[in-house]
Amino acid sequence: MSEIATQLRAVFVEALDLGADVDVENLKYRDLEAWDSVGHMALIAAIEDEFDVEFDTDQVIDMSSFKVAVDMVTELKAKND
């Protein structure tokens, strides 16, 4: 797992209050009650804070899974560096 993915996994667990039994790497939007539209906003805010990136509205809507989130953050970080 990449460094970003590892860091992002921790953000998912904290922001969505996920239990140890959750398969975070394969998690998709609305798989769990915690990741509904309101949880999604909390998650987005947490990712933005953690990685110092900013998502536009399309990206917020398109972040449909943990894997997509990893790709998006990786891309944004690369742009910022």
């Binding site: 906003m41 909390a42 805010a45 933005e48 900013e54 536009d56």
Partner: protein
């Protein structure tokens, strides 16, 4: 007096009228206030007048700019507790004289601008699971007004942004309310003819036009802990005009 010490507040459209009075009222209550306006010099001048920490440039029709500014304020001050989405415009036109441009400008500023601000505010407040947002509706959005069809429609939308966002955000500890001012003596109503002004006063049970400070005090109440169980409400600040 309401104590907002330690709170961080953002007021959009804070360079004059209700926005400026609100920024001042929140600052007087102890909050660290950031206000915004479309013109840099006016924003800085207003910040000084209101006792605000900063006056920043913002066009609320630009969703990206709103998001960046709100994040920046939360980052600089460590949090964001209060957002007053006040920026708006009022342009009158009788039904047969409404140009497409007037519709676009009014809806993009009053409706989309408010929505962008509420979205960004909610995102900034979500992690701490607390916060209070107030949007600026209007008496005409609740009851209509001849010559103000577009403005009234936009303000009805704003009231329903408050009601809907309150339903979504309640379980995250974020309250969303609206104030619906009546006829308030500000730059927006400065063009009222003397006769219309007198007629409004005569129709108002409290016997006067409202002031920007009257509305600011209602907003200060709604964002404070005094209103901790109040959300999704549209509070009329109209001297009883609708009774």
């Amino acid at each position: 007096m309401t104590d907002l010490s330690g709170r961080v507040a953002l007021v959009t459209g804070g360079t004059r009228g209700i926005g400026l009075a609100t920024a001042k009222a929140l600052a007087e209550a102890g909050a660290t206030v950031v206000l915004t306006g479309r013109d840099e010099a006016r924003a800085k001048e207003a910040a000084t007048a209101a006792g605000a920490a900063a006056g920043l440039v913002l066009d609320v029709t630009d969703a990206k700019a709103v998001s960046t500014l709100v994040r920046g304020v939360a980052k600089e001050h460590g949090k964001l507790d209060i957002v007053v989405a006040n920026a708006g415009i009022m342009q009158d036109a009788l039904l047969g004289m409404i140009k497409e441009d007037l519709v676009d400008t009014t809806l993009s500023t009053n409706v989309a601008g408010t929505l962008h601000t509420v979205q960004a505010a909610a995102r900034a407040m979500m992690r701490k699971k607390t916060g209070s947002i107030v949007v600026l509706a209007s008496i005409v959005g609740e009851y209509g007004s001849a010559g103000q069809t577009v403005y009234a429609a936009s303000k009805a939308a704003v009231a329903n942004i408050a009601r809907s966002a309150a339903k979504e955000l309640g379980r995250s500890g974020i309250r969303v309310n609206a104030v619906a001012p009546g006829v308030i003596d500000t730059d927006l109503t400065a063009g009222l003819a003397d006769e219309a002004r007198a007629e409004n006063v005569a129709r108002t049970p409290l016997g006067r036009l409202g002031s920007a400070e009257d509305v600011a005090k209602a907003i200060r109440f709604l964002v404070s802990d005094e209103a901790s169980f109040v959300t999704g409400q549209v509070l009329g600040v109209d001297g009883g005009l609708v009774l």
